[in-house]
């Protein structure tokens, strides 16, 4: 079932009488249960795009369907009711400084018709979910960044939303805290069945928890799809750049340029970059290679990522042997569905 459908969304801002096209004709579909990542460099329009989902920004054109309702056609009051079903967390947490942690979490529950006892119980439950039960009476200024984001997550979940929007939610946090927030989001997705949309400029975030991803550049979605497909077979250059930020494999190219002795080849050697897809990582390909052909091989670089419980590998190997054997080996590797790039 589609949770969020964006149809041909465009958003134009007027800055000093000039039109700035922040988002250009973007269409997306987010299915129930997805953790959908939208990645792009700053200024790519991804923050504007996520703000169109709950109409913090009204798109200049296009349609926004959430939970089967066309939000742009709703009157103000119904729109506010729909917004209560869409939680949102922010880069700078946006907690109320004058309220305690418990009061911040209870904030969206006021006027919901819930009794004081029910609200207290809900706050307690949420505090336990985000593991901050001992901080109920603390003020936001007494919390660390990670704790603040946990409070913000609890607040966003107070009305039991089915969708959670995360706008650069981990960008102000250190790597370790980012990990724990991402784990919490994954838990929210799995246990509470909340569909999550994440805006980020960090590929590591997408890699860790998203099952689907859209890559944005200059207001346009340049590529989108299943995370395994995108990682194992990226089409667009921006996508490739983002993927390269999460691995050090690009250093190989620099080493070749610099004629580093490590990547220097003998006459009977070739160097290959192999990218394992999702379907072929179980095969014992390397040992097969040695058994079938009269070759020696040497691993220069290896990296295996686990994406949605499926490993994706990147290998740089040197093969030593006769030209016939080498060519046969390359053919064999390709037959296994592994992407091969000859590096010299």
């Amino acid at each position: 079932m589609e949770k969020v459908v964006l149809k041909h969304i465009s958003k134009t801002f007027q800055v000093k009488e000039q039109d700035v096209h922040a988002v250009k004709d973007v269409s997306l579909q987010v299915e129930a249960g997805d953790i959908f990542g939208v990645i792009g460099f700053s200024g790519a329009g991804k923050s504007t795009l996520i703000r169109c989902v709950n109409l913090l920004e009204r798109p200049t054109s296009g349609e926004v369907w959430v939970n089967g309702k066309n939000l742009l056609e709703l009157p103000a009051k119904s729109l506010r009711e729909e917004r209560k079903k869409i939680g949102m967390i922010f880069q700078h947490f946006n907690l109320m400084r004058s309220r305690t942690v418990a009061q911040n979490i209870a904030y969206p529950l006021k006027g919901s018709g819930k009794s004081k006892v029910e609200i207290e119980a809900k706050v307690k439950e949420l505090l336990e979910l985000v593991e901050l039960a001992d901080k109920a009476k603390a003020y936001p200024s007494q919390l660390s960044g990670g704790q603040k984001q946990r409070v913000a997550i609890a607040r966003a979940l107070a009305n039991d939303p089915s969708i959670l929007l995360c706008d650069e939610a981990t960008s102000a946090l250190d790597p370790q805290t980012t990990q724990s927030i991402l784990q919490l989001l994954k838990q929210v997705n799995e246990k509470l069945n909340v569909t999550i949309i994440i805006i980020t400029h960090e590929m590591a975030v997408v890699k860790q928890i998203c099952n689907r991803v859209a890559i944005m550049e200059a207001g346009v979605v340049v590529e989108q799809g299943n995370i395994l497909d995108i990682f194992s077979n990226p089409q667009n250059q921006t996508t490739k750049n983002f993927i390269n930020t999460t691995t050090s494999i690009n250093e190989i190219y620099e080493m070749i340029e610099e004629e580093n002795p490590l990547v220097k080849l003998e006459d009977d050697e070739i160097m290959l970059r192999l990218t394992y897809g999702s379907s072929n990582t179980d095969e014992p390909m390397m040992s097969e290679l040695v058994n079938r052909f009269n070759l020696e091989f040497n691993i220069v670089f290896a990296n295996v990522e686990i994406l949605s419980s499926t490993p994706i590998g990147n290998l740089v190997v040197k093969l030593k042997g006769s030209e016939t054997d080498r060519n046969a080996a390359v053919r064999y590797i390709k037959e296994q569905g592994v992407k091969v790039e000859v590096l010299n």
């Binding site: 709950n54 913090l56 103000a76 009051k77 506010r80 009711e81 729909e82 917004r83 209560k84 869409i86 939680g87 949102m88 922010f90 700078h92 946006n94 109320m96 400084r97 004058s98 904030y107 969206p108 006021k110 006027g111 003020y139 936001p140 200024s141 607040r155 009305n159 929007l165």
Partner: protein
């Protein structure tokens, strides 16, 4: 109730005068008419400040909120309302208070039946204080992080809820400081209002200190005014600090 407070005020002023007299022997201390006049003047000043202050603070808060939310990119952007209220503030801030006094005579007669005396001065004072406080409110509300507004919209709050639960609630420490500054500045206005029949310490200082050249009388009013300012500012600081987290 009023007479009780005035008894307390009388007692306190008596003590202060006694204190000053220890350092600086004053002849007018021996004149019971003068003392009674001083007590009455202090009472009038406090009364003018409290009545006009509380009316103006409420109205100024409303005006301050209106200019904040109707401003460009505000919560309820409205060019016409913004223009009207912004110009209202600018106009009344531009007119010097001594000119505001004759200007407000007609309105004062209409609203409270008189343009003179302590009561007559209330209307003029209110119009003198509102624009000052409204601008203070506007700047206090501008300090509220726009991210909080965005968060509360995302949680389904109505504009009215955002005003009360975010703008006003989150800027309480700033608003308390604004109130304190406004009251101190209003105290200056009450002294001027005193010249045209409002009474109070300003009128007392002019009559005895200036016209009769009783230096002691002048210094006593200075000390009392300073005391009022200290009370306003220190209690504001106390509460602002206590409510800042």
């Amino acid at each position: 109730m009023g007479s009780q407070i005035s008894h307390i005020v009388e007692f306190i002023i008596g003590k202060i005068i006694e204190l000053i007299n220890n350092f600086l022997p004053m002849e007018f201390m021996n004149n019971p008419i003068m003392i009674r006049g001083l007590v009455q003047a202090t009472w009038e000043t406090i009364w003018m400040l409290l009545i006009s202050g509380s009316i103006a603070l409420v109205l100024g808060l409303v005006v301050g909120v209106i200019v904040t939310v109707t401003n460009k990119d505000g919560l309820l952007e409205n060019k016409v309302l913004y223009f009207i209220f912004d110009k209202f503030i600018n106009f009344f801030r531009a007119v010097p208070f001594v000119i505001l006094i004759p200007l407000m005579m007609g309105l004062s007669r209409l609203l409270v039946g008189t343009a003179t005396g302590t009561l007559g001065m209330i209307v003029t004072l209110v119009f003198g204080i509102i624009p000052f406080f409204a601008r203070q409110v506007q700047s206090a509300l501008a300090d509220v992080d726009s991210g909080l507004i965005e968060a509360s919209i995302s949680m389904g709050d109505s504009p009215f809820q955002i005003i009360t639960r975010v703008y006003l609630r989150e800027s309480i420490p700033g608003l308390i400081r604004s109130i304190s500054m406004t009251l101190v500045s209003a105290l200056g206005l009450t002294a001027m209002a005193g010249q045209v029949g409002g009474g109070g310490l300003g009128a007392f200082a002019i009559r005895y200190g200036y016209q009769s050249q009783e230096v002691d009388a002048t210094w006593t009013t200075v000390v009392i005014i300073l005391l009022i300012v200290v009370i306003i500012e220190s209690s504001a600081n106390y509460f602002a600090k206590k409510l800042t987290h």
